[in-house]
Symmetry: C2
Subunit: 280 residues, 2 copies
């Protein structure tokens, strides 16, 4: 059954994006992917906070409150639709403009909201994934690190490699240092010598909302503090468990990386319980 998606542009049902658009032309924009439960966006404030950081970094005109309103209107439509779980993507572009890289001084950003039903029960922890290692590295770009902008070719190429090689997720390494940074669609965690750690994201990677919740709430509730570290991939082989976080799965365990297999994921499972309590 093909996925069903509902789409709104600037608050109106839409099937197309007017041209030209700088989001298409240059990736001049940002996005967020939120999990909806019965049409209620989960941890929306944390997504809007990251969106605000991105809008500021790209010097967008004020559009955050408009994006929040369109997100809420779309969520209400989904609440009426009967979908239990859904993925809501909100994309903000700098809108149209004349030819060339320079943003127009009077830019009028566009807000695109796309909602897709999710058929799995997101309140159940998803099965552990096989993890490959991406050939393409993440370039160091401190000015954009942590933000969820529209320039995502590294993730696309890593996901394409995953399909080709039969992996469910891919580990992305910092191209400069070689350190493990994240997976294609999520943030990485590992338990090494009993210590829960996650990679630093100073130079590259997206600062995930669920990563922040693990650091601030769910891990402390279990007695963990979580250092942000430089994590050479060789250290992952000595981990007692590895998992990743994102908005749609919450937390998801890793079953294997190279020759290493992990059958049990007690820390990931306990954190998932914390996550569910937060949802309740």
């Amino acid at each position: 059954m093909p996925e069903q998606t509902l789409t709104w542009l600037d608050g109106e049902p839409a099937q197309a994006l007017p041209l030209p658009d700088r989001g298409l032309a240059f990736g001049d924009g940002l996005f967020e992917t939120l999990l909806l439960r019965r049409g209620v966006p989960l941890f929306a404030d944390r997504h809007l906070h990251r969106l605000k950081l991105g809008l500021d970094a790209l010097n967008f005109p004020p559009v955050l409150e408009t994006a929040r309103r369109h997100l809420e209107e779309a969520s209400q439509a989904i609440a009426a639709s009967g979908w239990l779980w859904a993925a809501l993507r909100v994309t903000v572009t700098r809108g149209s403009g004349p030819r060339g890289y320079a943003p127009p001084p009077d830019a009028q950003p566009r807000v695109l909201v796309e909602v897709t039903e999710i058929s799995r029960d997101c309140a159940l922890m998803a099965p552990a994934v096989t993890l490959g290692v991406a050939d393409i590295g993440l370039p160091a770009q401190p000015a954009l690190a942590g933000l969820k902008h529209l320039n995502r070719l590294e993730q696309v190429l890593a996901a394409e490699q995953a399909q080709r090689e039969g992996f469910e997720e891919m580990l992305l390494l910092d191209a400069m240092s070689g350190a493990a940074t994240c997976v294609t669609a999520g943030n990485l965690f590992a338990v090494i010598d009993g210590q829960l750690v996650t990679p630093k994201l100073a130079d590259c990677g997206v600062a995930g909302t669920r990563r922040r919740l693990v650091l601030d709430r769910w891990a402390p509730a279990l007695g963990f503090t979580v250092p942000e570290v430089r994590l050479p991939p060789g250290q992952l082989e000595h981990a007692s468990e590895v998992f990743y976080t994102n908005a749609l799965y919450g937390l998801r365990p890793v079953a294997s990386l190279g020759v290493v297999r992990w059958a049990e994921h007690p820390v990931c499972t306990a954190l998932f319980e914390q996550y569910l309590e937060d949802l309740a």
Copy 2:
């Protein structure tokens, strides 16, 4: 007078892009900007060659011949329109697909052609520009270096800074080495101790069609060989002239960088004559 643009999508006149589209979602695509004279695309084979390199690097399904055909059809329409000079942008995206980074195995790329009239006479060398230095560096990404893909936030932010600071163009430095790499919309050349040089593009930057023509044809015709070098920005201050190349200007001199001024541009002027001979 606002710019007039004619737009075709997959060969048909269009005002909008169907959603979803991976070019918008992730910058999953490529583009070329060609100069048209009386509707004839100049150096089209070199643009199509670079497009092919990009399509191969991103593992796109075969679409090059389709792009060539739509480019030619649009050019013929412009020939009939009476525009003397025009900029033709061809954008190839991986088309639609389900949610997520992974490209669909049956991706059907889209070809967008946008043509905008140019009012200036492109057969005249344009006035020299003031050059600032971009705060944002170019990250090292050897897997994508040289290609003209849709992930262009560094150029957007540099162009935005240029507007804010009152420069006409911006110098972009390699974030890792600090070397001068290119300008926002073109490739850099300098004459230092009588030697014409241009930055190496192994790690970042776009390998311009006019850059390649300078190296292969126009500079040799003047007796220059052009080493591709690592070019610390401090060396530019000792240059006797600096200029840049792109498809729309051909070659364009630089008037100033920091406290340094260049009043004369004999090498750029001589190369521009070579360029004009090639156009004839």
